[in-house]
């Protein structure tokens, strides 16, 4: 059984079918890639998984448990973590405080014995934000903001980590470090789902990749297979490409 299973999820916005029977799974200890053109439904799928958007039909299952009736808060407490493509940081707080909010919340519901202050410091080091720890997040460049969101999510010890374009806004060296970090997280046993436009990064770190286009999964498989899949090439480059 996979850690996270999504089965036949559809979302309809008026006449527009944003997701059309999406089925996929994410395994513990692996990075699962989710790619597709803009508007393919990647963020909508994340919203459905975390409960911010209710699906028209379909099921989301976390460690064997159906989540349909659960609020975003309950899902988070079951181990669902995420970051946002359109940043959702706490703008008036510093980097440290942003992560601290998450660590405090985690402690309040999990009964964890860890000192939240120490958890925060560990997370700051883990994602490499030590030099800007006391800066207000509103003043940081996008790339670092994404790391703050990641650290914030990690502070709640998620089992499943949904990353929505975490590497956009990062430069070359940052991306290399980020790939290492992703591998490290997976090695800790998390199921990481990565939505990313940097296809090279996705192909490098993911065990399995799903391609979404117009709300449908048009291809699933290992990176090598995806790269040569004709449907994928058509979706990305137009139907004339071979």
């Amino acid at each position: 059984m996979s850690l996270l299973e999504i089965s036949e999820v559809s979302v309809r916005f008026g006449g527009n079918l944003a997701l059309d029977g999406v089925t996929l799974a994410a395994e513990a200890g692996e990075i699962t890639g989710l790619i597709g053109p803009n508007g393919a439904g990647k963020t909508t799928l994340f919203n459905v998984i975390t409960g911010l958007q209710s699906p028209t039909s379909g099921r989301v299952i976390l460690t064997g448990r159906e989540l349909r009736k659960l609020s975003p808060t309950r899902r988070a407490r079951l181990g669902m973590g995420r970051t946002f493509q359109r940043l959702e940081l706490f703008g008036m707080l510093s980097v440290r405080e942003n992560i601290r909010v998450a660590a405090d919340i985690y402690k309040s519901y999990s009964g964890s014995k860890d000192d939240p202050a120490q958890v925060v410091e560990a997370m700051i080091d883990k994602v490499g934000l030590r030099s800007v720890a006391d800066a207000r997040v509103d003043a940081l460049p996008t790339g670092q903001c994404r790391l703050v969101e990641l650290a914030r999510s990690l502070a709640t010890r998620p089992k499943v980590l949904l990353l929505d374009e975490p590497a956009s806004g990062q430069d070359d060296t940052e991306t290399v470090a980020f790939a290492l970090l992703l591998r490290e997280l997976a090695a800790e046993g998390m199921a990481v789902v990565l939505v990313e436009h940097d296809v090279a990064l996705v192909m490098e770190v993911c065990a399995k990749v799903h391609v979404l286009d117009f709300g449908r999964v048009i291809a699933s498989g290992e990176p090598a297979d995806i790269q040569t899949d004709s449907a994928v090439l058509a979706a990305y480059l137009g139907s004339g490409a071979k």
Binding site: A76, V101, G143, G169
Partner: protein
């Protein structure tokens, strides 16, 4: 059956007026995103202008109508749009709401200035003497005209929005302002038009309603609460549903007045019905999705402990100075500075930290005052604890259903609660709920005993002054404690992004509930203390409208800081009464000032208190100035106590000494250190406004996530 028909017709014509006003509200809300609390006040102003021209100056009806509806109303609208609302981009919902509340308060002040209140002014019914009969029921010309106007308004709006180019542009702006402007629509023109139309609709409603009600600025402005309920039924979007809601509302009111038994306890229910209906509608409309992050210019820095203790010390010291120098009657007047400050303080965690809006602060204060009045026999301080706990519990109870709501809906829910309380509940006779005997204002006023701590009674105005200043100082420290705690961080986080908080596992309902209860509890304590100062309390002390300036001036002062609360207390209960002493003109200005201050908020959403603090910055950085103040102020005070001079010399000296200190310190250290600000060039303008630099490329690449530059050169 006749009776039913009669009341149906009354209901439909009242509903028609609500429909016209509410459709204007929906129009401006959908096109500009601003919920216009002043919609009723604008209608009120048009009605007064109409009265002036038609009745007082005896101009012809058509001319009076033309000038008030097609000249004055659109001009007000255009003025509001260009002068006030354009400055509100990138501000929070709280700021926008407060600006329109400022407009409401300001317009009432203006109307009371031009048209002295208390004078009876009447407008005769339109087409009086004309009527027609419908199955033995007489339909007056006024009623028919009202319904006809509503139908015409509905049809013209429908045609305008569907068929005209401008109407279509208006609907486009609703969907996406930026996109609409890219496609050639001119959002600024569209929003100005929306305001002009909204104001004209308000004016039509105002003029139609004056033959039925007294021409009074406050009453007319608040009729709008009834129209709010209609607009909410239309979910602030749908005009047809708004019209339907208005008719339901009008009929409900009419049937209640026709069929409800006229016992004293139920009389208020009819008046409160629209507010209660508003509350119920808010409970059943579907919830919106969790709010994501909004860009905002607002920022409230973390208060330091040292600064807070200095602040608290200064507050207590001023309490002592005022208590020892003011006459008894002045101490009664100005003693409310700190009590109102406590009410304002209750808004800081709720509105400032958590970003939730409550318009019911004064209602909770009323509950607190009642609790202390009834349970604090002999001034028992333990009753003060109950004056915290009971309003907190009521606050939580009210908030529980309202918490599904956010922003403007939550504000309206609390407004509905406040109005229901002061139109109905506060005017109830004693009643029992099971074994519990509930006694409110006993149909008049209730006595409140002065606080008595270990046999020491705070029964003189000056003792109360000291007590209240201490209470304000202690509560300020507590509020700063909240801000600095994990809970405070959580509130700020929730204000920034509810969606992110939920996905981190935060219990949003619990968090909102506790902050609501905390705020209601602080209001309750403030109300209880205010009650001991007033000695005798009545529902008028705690009505909905009187509560609006408290919120208004706290936001103007700085809703994220305890200093903002003091600002509200000092300006409402100190500066404005002082200004009113200078003469009739200044009294009128004092009535207008809170409104003007609120309206100007768009220019400075962080509040004035930070500017005031910055003004004192030189003293903080120049130690001799502090020492000078520490000697001069007590000296000035001691000389006053020794009777060397009176208050006419003392207070100017007291105000002058810090001013002199600031000037001196500024001269000494050369003013506030200016950090050079580099004008930030938007990315898309790099290389256009200024010459292209190598560093711009790196910055662009980083922002766009481009890793390498590949240059294609043709072979």
């Amino acid at each position: 059956m006749d009776k039913f028909l009669t009341f149906t017709i009354v209901g439909l014509s009242t509903g028609a007026i609500y429909a016209i006003i509410a459709s204007g509200l929906v129009l401006t809300y959908t096109t500009t995103g601003i919920f216009n609390f002043a919609q009723g006040a604008i209608g009120m102003l048009c009605a007064f202008a109409f009265w002036q021209m038609y009745i007082a100056w005896e101009w012809p009806l058509w001319l009076a109508l033309l000038l008030s509806l097609l000249v004055l109303a659109p001009l007000i609208g255009a003025f509001i749009d260009t002068a006030i609302m354009r400055g509100l981009e990138d501000t929070t919902e709280v700021t926008r709401l407060v600006v329109s509340i400022g407009l409401l308060v300001g317009l009432i002040g203006l109307a009371n200035w031009i048209w002295k209140p208390g004078v009876s002014r009447n407008v005769p019914a339109f087409f009086s003497g004309h009527y027609f009969s419908l199955a033995d029921t007489r339909v007056t010309g006024q009623q028919l005209a009202t319904i006809a106007v509503a139908v015409i308004v509905a049809l013209s709006l429908w045609l305008f929005l569907r068929l005209t180019r401008t109407g279509v542009a208006m609907r486009a702006v609703v969907d996406d302002r930026a996109l609409a402007s890219l496609n050639g629509a001119r959002p600024n023109r569209v929003s100005m038009l929306a305001w002009a139309m909204g104001c004209t609709l308000a004016g039509i409603g105002g003029i139609l309603i004056v033959p039925n009600v007294a021409l009074d600025a406050g009453t007319l402005s608040l009729l709008i609460v009834n129209a709010y309920a209609a607009a909410i039924i239309g979910r602030l979007r749908s005009l047809p549903l708004t019209f339907l809601g208005a008719l339901i509302l009008g009929c409900t009111e009419a049937y209640l007045s026709g069929y409800l038994k006229s016992t004293p306890n139920l009389a208020g229910l009819r008046l409160a019905a629209p507010a209660i209906l508003l509350f119920i509608v808010l409970l059943v409309i579907p919830t919106s999705r969790l709010r994501g992050r909004r860009q905002s210019r607002e920022f409230f820095p973390m208060p330091s402990w040292s600064g807070t203790f200095v602040f608290a010390g200064c507050v207590v010291f001023s309490g002592v100075v005022l208590a020892t120098t003011l006459s008894n009657s002045d101490a009664v007047t100005y003693g409310r500075i700190f009590a109102v400050g406590i009410l304002a303080l209750s808004l800081v965690p709720l509105v400032g930290f958590a970003g939730q809006i409550s318009l019911a602060t004064l209602s909770f204060a009323g509950i607190g005052a009642l609790v202390f009045g009834h349970l604090g026999a002999g001034g028992n301080p333990l009753a003060l604890v109950l004056a915290f706990v009971i309003p907190a519990a009521v606050g939580a109870l009210i908030a529980l259903p309202a918490l599904r709501l956010s922003g403007i809906y939550l504000a309206l829910g609390t407004a509905g609660f406040a109005v229901a309380l002061d139109r109905w509940i506060f005017n109830l006779a004693d009643f029992n709920i099971g074994p519990v005997h509930i006694s409110l204002f006993e149909l008049g006023s209730t006595e409140v005993a002065p606080l008595n701590i270990f046999g020491y009674s705070f029964n003189t105005p000056s003792r109360q002054m000291v007590l209240v200043s201490v209470a304000f100082a202690v509560l300020s420290i507590a509020v700063v404690g909240v801000r600095r705690s994990a809970y405070g961080r959580r509130l700020l986080a929730m204000k920034s992004s509810e969606a992110a908080c939920a996905t981190l596992g935060l219990n949003l309902v619990g968090t909102k509930l506790t902050v609501f209860a905390l705020s209601a509890g602080i209001s309750g304590v403030g109300g209880a203390i205010l009650g001991t100062q007033l000695r005798s309390i009545s529902p008028q002390n705690f009505d909905f409208v009187s509560g609006l300036p408290v919120l208004l001036l706290t936001v103007v002062g700085g809703i994220g800081a305890v200093g903002g609360a003091l600002f509200a207390g000092v300006s409402l209960m100190g500066i404005l009464p002082l200004l009113a002493l200078l003469g009739v003109f200044f009294a009128n200005v004092a009535g207008l000032l809170p409104g003007i201050a609120g309206v100007g908020l768009g220019r400075n959403p962080n509040g004035s208190i930070h500017d005031i603090r910055d003004g004192f910055e030189p003293i903080i950085r120049y130690r001799p100035a502090i020492i000078w103040l520490a000697i001069v102020i007590p000296a000035v005070w001691i000389l006053r106590l020794a009777g060397i001079y009176g208050n006419a010399v003392f207070f100017p000296l007291l105000v002058l000494s810090p001013v002199v200190a600031v000037i001196f310190a500024t001269l000494k250290i050369g003013g506030v250190e200016q950090t050079p600000t580099v004008e930030e060039i938007p990315l898309e303008w790099k290389g256009f406004i200024e010459p292209w630099k190598e560093s711009d490329l790196i910055e662009l690449d980083a922002a766009l996530g481009i890793n390498e530059v590949s240059i294609h050169v043709a072979p």
